[in-house]
């Protein structure tokens, strides 16, 4: 117990100490979080009327970001699986980073769902026993379970490993491997459940597709590792933490294959919607070409597709992918492309046209954008803290002093 207290104290020490750039970075994030909190206060005071949402488009930027971030969280499994189970040493250094990313992404997910609620003060109604939990009927109830469960797994495993490394001991595999094994299935689960949340609604033909789940996985396993590649490149440049080239190359391969599969699925969706368009293709027509003179999402989706194709193109050629500059560029483009594709390109057009064919467009309001930026800043803040604490322990710089 005393060791654990010292562990927390040392962790706090390494989190608060840093060079000038580190403090500027954390200060900026704090300022953005405060701005987001202020915007959220306005939303609490006046109601969701201050967002761009309406009875017609009743989910917007918040739920879009939630959906995207579930994918980022799930992508941590792409690092965990080879390292712990296939005993692939190359990815070992990246695993803790991936799990840290999962934790940050999950906290952001929960934050996005909370700010989207009309009555966040009544969120306790969701707690089983205390409230009324409509499980197994509601996919949202499933989502609450899988997200919180995944968060628990991804907090406890790295904590356990770090705590042992902190004491200079080797963690016991029999303790953490079962957790790792569960987390692998769980990661696929969180994204499938999130996809089912939309796919289970016949009222919205645009989402009511059996391809939605697999497509969520493909896009998640390309956007997630793409972000991890960017972060690892950054870490190995600015810290002493050694990440071998092979780690990045392996991750790049995962990203590439997933991005290619994602494109194939996109083509198959486009074919189905446009080869013989039915009434159910209206949302896709609106998204890609505009409908009845309304075309708010057209620039979004075409930029997403262009970025996606360019990035996948770069990744596909080995010579380009093996140069880290090109790789970083492709990862950046891919990340943005999939963020658009899952938000403005999936959640919003699901509501347009409305149930009776009416086209009401959606643009996020300033309050919505500020809250969103605030939550992203919070995620970056949490992730930075976790990494800042984990790296010195892994490097052996911070150890328990008896």
């Amino acid at each position: 117990m005393q060791v654990f207290v010292q562990f927390i104290k040392d962790g706090f020490q390494s989190a608060t100490k840093g060079n000038f750039t580190y403090h500027v970075w954390m200060g900026t994030l704090t300022a953005l979080m405060l701005l987001g909190a202020f915007a959220f206060y306005i939303q609490l005071r006046d109601g969701l009327i201050v967002t761009g949402m309406s009875d017609k488009v009743s989910w917007g930027l918040y739920i879009s970001n939630f959906t995207f971030l579930v994918g980022v969280a799930a992508a941590a499994v792409m690092l965990v699986l080879p390292t712990y189970i296939l005993k692939d040493i190359n990815l070992k250094q990246a695993v803790l980073i991936g799990e840290g990313l999962a934790v940050a992404a999950l906290i952001m997910c929960l934050a996005f769902v909370t700010v989207d609620l009309g009555g966040p003060a009544r969120a306790w109604h969701l707690i089983p026993k205390l409230g009324y939990f409509n499980w197994p009927n509601s996919m949202l109830a499933w989502d609450v379970i899988v997200l919180n469960g995944y968060l628990f797994i991804n907090v406890t495993i790295p904590l356990y490993i770090l705590f042992y490394h902190y004491q200079g001991k080797e963690p016991n595999k029999n303790i953490y491997l079962p957790g790792v094994l569960i987390s692998v299935f769980w990661a696929v689960g969180i994204h499938m459940v999130t996809a089912f949340l939309y796919a289970g609604l016949p009222a919205r033909p645009f989402w009511n597709s059996s391809l939605l789940g697999p497509r969520f996985l493909a896009s998640a396993f390309s956007a997630g590792p793409a972000l991890i590649i960017l972060i690892l490149s950054f870490i190995r440049r600015y810290t002493d933490y050694r990440i071998p080239n092979t780690t990045l190359r392996k991750l790049a391969l995962v990203t590439t294959v997933a991005a290619q599969i994602n494109l194939i699925m996109l083509i198959s969706e486009l074919f189905k919607e446009f080869y013989s368009p039915t009434h159910h293709s209206q949302s896709a027509v609106y998204l890609f070409f505009g409908l009845h003179g309304k075309s708010g999402l057209v620039p979004w989706i075409w930029s997403a597709i262009s970025l996606n194709v360019i990035a996948t193109g770069i990744l596909t050629f080995h010579t380009l992918r093996n140069q880290f500059r090109w790789l970083a560029l492709a990862c950046g483009l891919l990340f943005v492309a999939i963020w658009i594709e899952k938000g403005m390109g999936l959640i919003v057009p699901g509501f347009i046209p409305g149930s009776w064919g009416d086209i009401v467009e959606y643009t996020p309001s300033l309050v919505e954008i500020l809250v969103t930026i605030g939550i992203w800043a919070m995620g970056a803040f949490i992730f930075t803290l976790l990494v800042k604490v984990a790296i010195p322990i892994e490097l052996g710089k911070v150890r328990y002093q008896r």
Partner: protein
């Protein structure tokens, strides 16, 4: 621009709100959404249940509490102070109450007492909130005669008044779609018309909550705040809803309305005869919808829309009663329902003469 947007998000001042729906007379003149500002008493603003306190009021309450606690205030009106404390206590108890379906009869009557008392404290007026349950062997159904509807919108106005719907956002449960003869196509229909009706070469079709036998909205609610009653009415527990809007995404018929802001109904326009699952006043951030006027239908009356319709296009009744008018329509007319392929089994039929 930043400043502008923030300004826009501010709560409107009292003078601007609320506006009332100008009811248009029946007969040949039928215009939609004629607005005229109505004189508003200040307490019209404060009357609603889950009212949000402004900063000044909160500060006043806080300081009053502190001063009173320190024993420094003697002149302060004791009754007003007592009411404030009672209000706080009632709101506290309301916050922790259960889902309506899990309440015992005693708990139900307790919450009703609290709601009625809260309204009295806030407005000095009394309301009557019923918790009448479903009557045995009753299953409500609705039929809409497309040949008869002329698009007068009297149903819409009656519905707004009966069900205490938010006047500031002009919330309406019913939508009347004006369609061109020769097709039943919602894409080309106009549900926002503003001209004399009936328009030449057009017919009118109303949509609202269909009270499906297999309601997709009920299935998806994560907290069970919406359900189908034994008489087939799909209801919402306004105090249990957390405002996630999943039900709104799941409804294929645009049957649900969300309170994006604190709803406003001037006190003198409030319908005081209320039902817990029906037209009692809502708060911001919760879902609501047509309840077949549960406060009326369970007392043996027709919903307000049926009663208000000047053409007789709307038929409501118990489909389990072989002698009811609705049964006669279902048995003798060629009826159909919308989006039947979704398997929702609406209890809302359309027919023609």
């Amino acid at each position: 621009m930043l400043f502008d947007l923030f300004f826009k998000t501010r709560k409107p001042v009292e003078e601007d709100l609320p506006q009332t729906e100008g009811g248009c007379g029946s007969g040949s003149c039928g215009c939609k959404k004629k607005k005229e500002p109505a004189p508003v008493e200040p307490d019209g603003y404060d009357m609603k249940m889950g009212k949000t306190m402004n900063r000044r009021a909160a500060f006043r309450q806080l300081t009053a509490g502190l001063l009173a606690g320190a024993g420094m205030v003697q002149s302060c009106s004791i009754t007003a102070d007592k009411e404030k404390r009672e209000e706080g206590q009632l709101k506290w108890e309301e916050y922790f109450k259960k889902n309506y379906r899990l309440m015992s009869d005693e708990e139900k009557s307790k919450t009703v007492e609290r709601l009625e008392r809260l309204y009295e404290i806030n407005t000095g007026k009394t309301i009557n909130v019923s918790t009448n349950g479903a009557v045995e062997n009753v299953l409500y159904g609705y039929a809409f005669n497309i040949s008869k509807c002329q698009g007068y919108m009297d149903c819409v106005n009656a519905c707004v008044k009966e069900n205490n719907q938010d006047r500031s956002s002009q919330m309406q449960y019913i939508r009347i779609h004006e369609m061109e003869n020769g097709q039943l196509n919602f894409d080309d229909a106009d549900d926002n018309y503003f001209h004399e009706v009936p328009a030449e070469g057009h017919f009118y079709l109303g949509t609202q909550c269909y009270h499906c036998e297999n309601p997709p909205c009920v299935k998806v609610c994560p907290v069970g705040a919406t359900w189908k009653e034994d008489d087939g009415i799909v209801v919402v527990d306004y105090d249990w809803c957390i405002g996630c809007r999943y039900c709104q995404a799941a409804c294929p018929y645009d049957g649900r309305r969300f309170n994006w802001q604190t709803p406003e109904v001037p006190e003198e326009e409030v319908n005081h005869t209320q039902h817990y699952l029906g037209n009692r006043l809502r708060k911001k951030g919760v879902m609501e919808k047509c309840t077949f006027c549960i406060q009326r239908s369970r007392s043996g009356k027709n919903p307000a829309c049926v009663e208000a319709c000047p053409t007789g296009a709307r038929i409501f009744g118990n489909i389990l009663d072989p002698n009811s008018e609705i049964r006669w329509v279902l048995e003798n007319k060629k009826v159909f329902r919308l989006k039947e392929d979704l398997g929702t089994e609406p209890k809302f039929w359309y027919y023609m003469d």
